[in-house]
Point group: C2
Chain length 413, copies 2
Amino acid sequence: MKAEIITIGDELSSGSVQNTNATFIAAQLHTIGIEVVKITTVGDDTETIVDALRSAQQKVSFVIVTGGLGPTMDDITTRAAAEALRRKLVLNKRALKAMEEKFQKYGRTMSPHNVKQAYLPSDSTLIPNPIGTACGFSLAKSSTLFIFLPGVPREMKRMFQESVTPVIKKEQPETSLVRSRVLKIFGKTESYCDQMLSDVIKREKEITFSFLPHYPEISLKFTMRGNDKKYIEKKLKAVERTITKILGDIIFGKDEETLEEVVGNLLRSKGATISLAESCTGGLITHRLTNVPGSSDYLERSLIVYSNKAKKELLKVPAPILNRFGAVSKETAECMAKGVKSLSKTNFGLAVTGIAGPTGGTTEKPVGTVFISLAHSRYITTQKYRFYGDREQIKFMTSHYALDTLRKHLIEN
Amino acid sequence: MKAEIITIGDELSSGSVQNTNATFIAAQLHTIGIEVVKITTVGDDTETIVDALRSAQQKVSFVIVTGGLGPTMDDITTRAAAEALRRKLVLNKRALKAMEEKFQKYGRTMSPHNVKQAYLPSDSTLIPNPIGTACGFSLAKSSTLFIFLPGVPREMKRMFQESVTPVIKKEQPETSLVRSRVLKIFGKTESYCDQMLSDVIKREKEITFSFLPHYPEISLKFTMRGNDKKYIEKKLKAVERTITKILGDIIFGKDEETLEEVVGNLLRSKGATISLAESCTGGLITHRLTNVPGSSDYLERSLIVYSNKAKKELLKVPAPILNRFGAVSKETAECMAKGVKSLSKTNFGLAVTGIAGPTGGTTEKPVGTVFISLAHSRYITTQKYRFYGDREQIKFMTSHYALDTLRKHLIEN
């Protein structure tokens, strides 16, 4: 079964905001085995919306449309839908009632603008919005089901999962299975991986391979379609084993796993604790580590020592070291890692210091120069890097290499 | 002048990665006054790509296409372009030479896969890629110029700015001007702003207003088209003044300004310094503050006191306070703010403590309970919040309210 996605809004066609809705819906459809043949984005213009809706018809089983269901003047999707699918707009009593209840609950008064939202194309089926005022609706035309959802991502996502997915799954023949695996890679290029795996890719004709660059990571996705669930699962598992053998430890995770999750799981499974001293990353490494639920099990503290004063006072980095080698140096990075480790009494101390730019670089230490140091009771290791890009990119690359350094030490030791 | 964007790749149509390319190109075109009528995304399928290219023809002046120019098997855009626009694929010597030079520079050997990339549709104009191996190309068909760029965002962006923008600008009649302003709002709903501004929106018929929700912020964008640059600028300025008067301090910034930039500029202009004590946000507030170049001018240090031990040792939060009121309490938040301020000798001490979840909540203090405290030599203010959503959302909302608390104090004092 195939689907098309139409996302509506001037904010999208003018590039003011990321179209996270299209990505979310595409990913959701993909996981339940629906192929998205096209994603179309148009602005808040009736004629263009009508065109997009009409050109979608007949080709696919589902058309998911988001945006333009709100109370404001530029919300014109419902009217365009009625025109495109040749229906009249009629007051939907269930929609009105749902809205009245919502407003009462929030203690707000309903304006005529809001009442407009309860007029839907005739024969629409209401899709309730549990967390907002704009209801969605669905509408069949020939063999295509059009599904209209609001554009607010939080509301759309909730409604999609609660009301749209079940409808689609019911329509789906049970025999067409699609299963995917994703292996996440860091540290080598797409070309390198493509070349290393060329034999496997040529041999496994039942499987589709694709490299998804997600800078600085690469996701290798392999997908198999068929009817025999057991066979598919077995085959994918075998291929995963082969690939893992070939690529080794540049594969850091699977499917939705993030680097910080992998590092967190390794720390927990080894019963190890960590403390950090961040300079140029300004808290980003710790922010990423603490995005993982339960990170307080292994993260004791982190000191963002932006000033030299803070480096001296908190981490006991000796003034002569700072004066002689500078704040961005192997020597300072080592003192920071050892300092935070001994202060916090953790198993690991991880420290970074560098020049995130755009100013502060010198010929000897240009913008992007970074030292990453990892201290453990038995050893200390410090590596110099040179990253490129703007401030945020340099911060991000530093955090990524710092986390990967920790990962590799946890695997090896 | 109008344009269409076509982005190609299974990673996009399957929702594996965000389509940041479409957003970037749309935003770039918007700023130079080109209206994007449609953005189409299709997977790596020749027939679908050919369809998308053919259906774009004739309607618009420019069609910008990204993706599928790489060396791997699933890169089929060039072939599809030749088919859609009825050209032969011929070896482009300039493209080959550029690639050979690139490979030599990187010390890598060129594979036959790579040579494939130098075959372009006849009469194509090469678009150089200064930072990667996949060149772009452009191709005129009737009155439409098709521009093909690689899908790697970093390469595409660079090529767009260096080679595409100049071409488009040259074609553009100088008389059609488009100017926009964006005011960024935090703390009220879209409906509230819409109602407050309904008179202005009705009165100013030359101007298009749109609300762009960018949760938890709202951007209010107002756009004017015309020929008289001076008149447009004057008009927009006047409308901006009127809106600012009506909405007051819920407007925190303009255009591309971020909350952390605004806070940073206020700190610098007042000559004030700040230190932070973060618990549930795990470094996010400091990460955001340090995304702003020059933040070391006002940020002294930040302590991420994840454990109670760190709160006691570093910030001198008294054990009885922690035992009696708990780590997530008004009392602890205040001690943290005062503690970090006095330790760092800064003008402000900002502290947050809360329960980011998904576990750790109680009936009395459910997940999402957060205390934000701001200490200054003359006063201390602490506020309790209840946020909703997952761990990352609660962290983000906490960081946003913490920064906004600081902003309001800097404006008022």
